[in-house]
């Protein structure tokens, strides 16, 4: 866990005149699961999108491995090995489930496709049953699974997951978090996870950051933050569990 894979320094992002990120410093090391928790509107999703260059940060720098990707076009950032399951899932509604997965594999060598598809179907069996159905007709939970499966089809080095638990039944949330843990443990996949469901996320993550109003206010290991009274008061008690 030594080498940093993603390095974010002093990043500020604006929507017009409104400043959404106010100087973010954050690291994700190779092989880690890192989570970012925070309430609605804190800027978590903005940070996810800024990593992919859409929107672009106004100041600061973002490095991925050896490359400075601060000004790299979005599609080239993806080709370097970052995949995102974005906020709102963004399934292509008028494409079949299979085509959505094919889109996920747009950046990979076609020779991996069959193997990766089989793995995706093994992880999320419901997708195999629905494979010729249009993405727009899936339920919210199925779409969420499809979004994660689609991101995995890209064989990323870094997987960005934006609220994978949103709108899912607790059992499925557990299942998805188990999948993430397994991918990380067995394949060494690095995961950067944004969550409102702080309890699960902190239990899963090696390290965690807390974002409030576009700033990182706390960071530490998952268990440190779980034990912190402030975190318990703000994000855990009376809510998630």
């Amino acid at each position: 866990m030594a080498s940093p894979l993603l390095t974010i320094r002093g990043v500020e992002t604006f929507y017009g005149k409104i400043q959404a990120l106010k100087g973010i410093d954050l690291d994700v090391n190779e092989g880690e699961i890192v989570t970012l928790i925070g309430s609605n509107g804190a800027g978590k999703s903005t940070l996810m999108m800024t990593i992919c260059g859409t929107p672009r940060c106004r100041t600061g720098s973002i490095r991925f491995g050896e490359a400075d990707i601060t000004q790299t076009p979005t599609h080239e950032i993806i080709r370097l090995g970052i995949a995102q399951s974005p906020e709102g899932r963004r399934i292509f509604p008028r494409m079949s489930v299979l085509e959505n997965l094919q889109m996920g594999a747009a950046v990979t060598d076609p020779k991996y496709f069959d193997e990766d598809l089989a793995r995706a179907f093994k992880t999320f069996p419901i997708l195999e049953k629905r494979q010729s159905q249009r993405g727009g007709t899936l339920s919210g939970g199925e779409q969420q699974m499809l979004a994660i499966a689609r991101a995995l089809m890209a064989r990323p080095r870094l997987l960005l997951l934006d609220e994978p638990s949103l709108g899912l039944a607790p059992l499925i949330v557990k299942q998805i978090f188990e999948v993430i843990r397994e991918l990380n443990a067995k394949q060494g996949l690095t995961v950067f996870l944004v969550e409102q469901n702080a309890f699960h996320a902190l239990k899963l993550a090696h390290r965690a950051y807390v974002m409030v109003n576009g700033r990182i206010t706390m960071s530490g290991t998952g268990s440190q933050l779980l034990a912190s009274p402030e975190i318990r008061a703000a994000y855990l008690e009376g809510g998630a569990h």
């Binding site: 992919c52 859409t54 599609h75 995949a83 963004r90 292509f92 008028r94 094919q102 747009a106 007709t137």
Partner: protein, 311 residues
Amino acid sequence: MEYFLEQLINGITLGSIYGLIAIGYTMVYGIIGMINFAHGDIFMIGAMISLIAILALGLTASASFALLLLALILVLAIAMILASAFNWTVERVAYRPLRGSFRLAPLISAIGMSIVLQEFARIAQGGRPKPMQPLLSGGFELMHRTTEAGDFIVRISTIQIIVIVTTLALMALFTALITRTSLGRAQRSCEQDMKMASLLGIDVNKTISITFVMGASLAAVAGLMFFLRYGVIDFYIGFVAGVKAFTAAVLGGIGSIPGAMLGGLVIGLIEVFWSAYFSVEYKDVAAFAMLAVVLIFLPQGLLGKPEVEKV
């Protein structure tokens, strides 16, 4: 009956040409949500380039059929490549810098590019209509009946066969391209969610450029076909054909490729039948009235997709 059959063939031929142009409108609308008003003029450029290439090759009707066909394929290739280069440049210069600007900006820019292309053709090639002796004259008799008033013959000309066959072949090719290849998937993904497409590693700008190139090459095919069929072109044909093809695209359901083809056929048939049975002067009124009627009862067009999706 014979008269009807003859007009049907004429209508399908004209409709095929409209349909080929309409696909360019509908694809561009599908992917970036703008009407490329310069598209009709790309069709005109395609026809002009075909004319120039035919003259440069020294083609005349006296050459053998096989040689003519071969030469026309070469002409077509040249026209497709150059028309694509024109449309690619138009997009690069006049539309891409305005992407993300307010919605009307690229539309106004498109009208400007339409005028630019027309005036360019007028200055470079002169304003007079350019007629040409028919290159392909043969045909087949489909029906022959002797009546008291004289013989009635229903013919389908070689050119009509070429137009219809080429259109069908291109339709099949493009449908396969859009529905089955990774390029087609990339195009459809950009249509549905451009940002997500880029998050999956799709180069959105490149995909849009390819769409303009595809539309232009079909318009160039239509240009050559139009020239071969009607034998005369000028710098202004793009306007009228463009408006008709645009109407066809809206009638069929803008954004839908089969819809564009169907719309083209409907407009072509209405125009031809109205001229045949009622009056030539009002053929355009009939075509546009049809558009109005369809849009009142089917606002999405004949094959347009209603926007109901679970979110």
